[in-house]
């Protein structure tokens, strides 16, 4: 059970001591061209979560490779790079640029950012295009805002994904207390935090029964107990997002809490908990049953 950061929720270069607590660092999404991101206001707290509308602010792939990547390597934590584009061909081009960079362990395909216009192609088409462009492990980051996420997960697996990152934020709106106008510059944003946890758990639960590839669970994780639940639903690894904003030392705290929770349940490793939410059923049989 590895603990990662959710893409876009940590800058390893400004907070290396926070990054050092992680088993792998996931970069902010890199796009083909530089993006300034959305107009302020970009964040808003709600009662049970937060909204963001950062809008994939990033320096673009050229500056990422030339300026950021060498410094990220110096941080000394295994590196995942998140990529995003507006067409499958852009994802493929990004993957080609990253393919020969040995310092990158995994490429995460952000096919589901709620703050930019979605690519015209389906998640599976994007995964297939990326698959043809790189031999690196590919994780597809999916949105929970679909009728059947297991079907999307199966399609991503069939297209060549090596893993699933579940889930991205979901669109939400917050209104100003006095003016009743949207708080965020672009009105709607991506909703994350504690309110997302049951939604994310359901996505992990559904996909675990439908795919054979590993799942990184994320969405509202704040404690070791939360990680136990994601593992039980089927996550092999987890990522922390919103909780990093209130507690930069959350990764180590959560890791310590996880060990205590697992021991209290009578297990020796977090991996022993994986899939327990599915009862005695064997995952292989669940996956096969989902395909008939």
């Amino acid at each position: 059970m590895r603990i990662l950061n959710a893409s876009g929720c940590l800058d390893a270069l400004t907070a290396p001591e926070v990054t050092a607590q992680l088993d792998a660092f996931v970069s902010k999404t890199v796009t083909p061209l530089p993006r300034e991101g959305n107009a302020p206001v970009r964040i808003a707290e709600t009662d049970a979560g937060m909204l963001n509308s950062i809008g994939l602010a990033n320096p673009g792939i050229d500056a990422f490779l030339a300026e950021k990547l060498p410094r990220l390597v110096d941080v000394g934590v295994p590196l995942w790079v998140s990529v995003g584009g507006f067409e499958a061909s852009e994802f493929a081009e990004l993957c080609r640029r990253l393919d020969d960079r040995d310092e990158i362990d995994v490429v995460e395909l952000n096919v589901s950012c709620p703050n930019v216009e979605a690519a015209a192609e389906s998640a599976a088409e994007i995964v297939a295009a990326a698959r043809n462009a790189t031999s690196k492990p590919l994780y597809a980051k999916l949105s929970p805002a679909v009728p059947d996420i297991a079907e999307v997960g199966r399609a991503a697996e069939a297209a060549g994904a090596d893993g699933l990152s579940l889930v991205n934020t979901i669109r939400g709106l917050a209104l100003d207390e006095r003016t009743l106008e949207p708080v965020l510059g672009p009105a709607v944003g991506g909703y994350s935090g504690p309110a997302l946890k049951p939604i994310a758990l359901a996505a992990v639960f559904a996909c675990y029964r439908s795919v054979r590839i590993p799942i990184v669970g994320m969405g509202g994780i704040r404690s070791g107990r939360d990680v136990v639940e994601f593992a039980a639903a089927g996550a092999a690894d987890v990522a922390l997002g919103t909780t990093l904003f209130s507690d930069p030392y959350a990764p180590q705290r959560v890791r310590d809490e996880l060990a205590a929770e697992v021991a209290a349940l009578g297990y020796s490793h977090a991996d022993d908990v994986r899939g327990l939410a599915h009862g005695e059923a064997n995952r292989q049989l669940l996956v096969e049953a989902s395909r008939t």
């Binding site: 876009g8 929720c9 800058d11 991101g37 302020p40 964040i43 707290e45 009662d47 904003f245 209130s246």
Partner: protein, 229 residues
């Protein structure tokens, strides 16, 4: 950057504002103008607050309770614990010869600590009412103006002969910069994290969107926060 749960030592009304006193623990007060992230009980995100005062063994924050987070912060009881992260960002440069503090409204917040570190320099403070102006009592040598009089009125004469250190609402900061182009200005933006992780506090600095928590909050440049895309 350090994070610690600090005990509430006192909650006092100062006009419409609230002075929240926390036991300091092992936290450093930092440089005046730097800020701390205070975690309101039962809320998702912490709130950025500049340090108001650093009495022995304490850190004190002046809070204007205007939303759910700040209301939760001022509703705490003595002895309760609040998680605090900091000090963060870039504060004021205090190696100036003839400092003059210029503040508006809750912008007075960092001045008691700043004034202490600068040896009680003169201050010009503007408030919207006499009730709000009660906060001026926290700052030595303060000349107070009340709406409709603005701080820029008395500042006009003093700007050229002083090093201005300002904090207040955006229009005030812009007006101060017109009169004192080299003024150090403490800006504000909504922040989720305070340490560069969320990219939420991006503001336009010299034509580029940058994170205020990393570049500021105290800057000599002008900052644009309104929608620019």
């Amino acid at each position: 950057m350090r994070r610690e749960a600090l005990s509430v030592a006192g909650v006092e009304a100062v006009g419409p504002y609230t002075l929240l006193r926390l036991e300091r623990g092992r936290m450093e007060p930092g440089i005046p103008g730097q800020f701390f992230m205070l975690q309101p009980p039962e809320r998702v995100l912490p709130r950025p607050m500049s340090l108001c005062a650093a009495p022995a063994g304490q850190l004190a924050f002046l809070i204007d309770a205007i939303g759910p987070g700040t209301r939760a912060l001022v509703s705490v009881d003595r002895g309760e614990q609040i998680s605090v992260l900091g000090p963060l960002g870039n504060g004021y440069r205090i190696d100036v010869e003839t400092p003059l503090l210029v503040g508006g409204g809750i912008g007075v917040a960092p001045f008691p600590y700043l004034s202490e570190r600068l040896g009680s320099p003169p201050a010009l403070l503007g408030f919207r009412s006499a009730w709000h102006a009660e906060a001026a009592a926290l700052v030595p040598q303060a000349e107070v103006v009340i709406d409709p009089v603005l701080v820029t009125e008395p500042l006009e004469e003093l700007a050229s002969s002083h090093n201005v250190l300002a904090c207040g609402p955006e229009p005030m900061l812009r007006a101060v910069q017109q009169l004192a182009p080299d003024a150090q200005l403490a800006w504000e933006a909504p922040m989720a994290c305070g340490y560069g992780a969320c990219y939420g506090c991006a503001v336009e600095i010299e034509g580029e969107l940058k994170r205020l928590c990393i570049e500021g909050p105290v800057l000599q440049q002008n900052v644009r926060q309104e929608a620019c895309a």
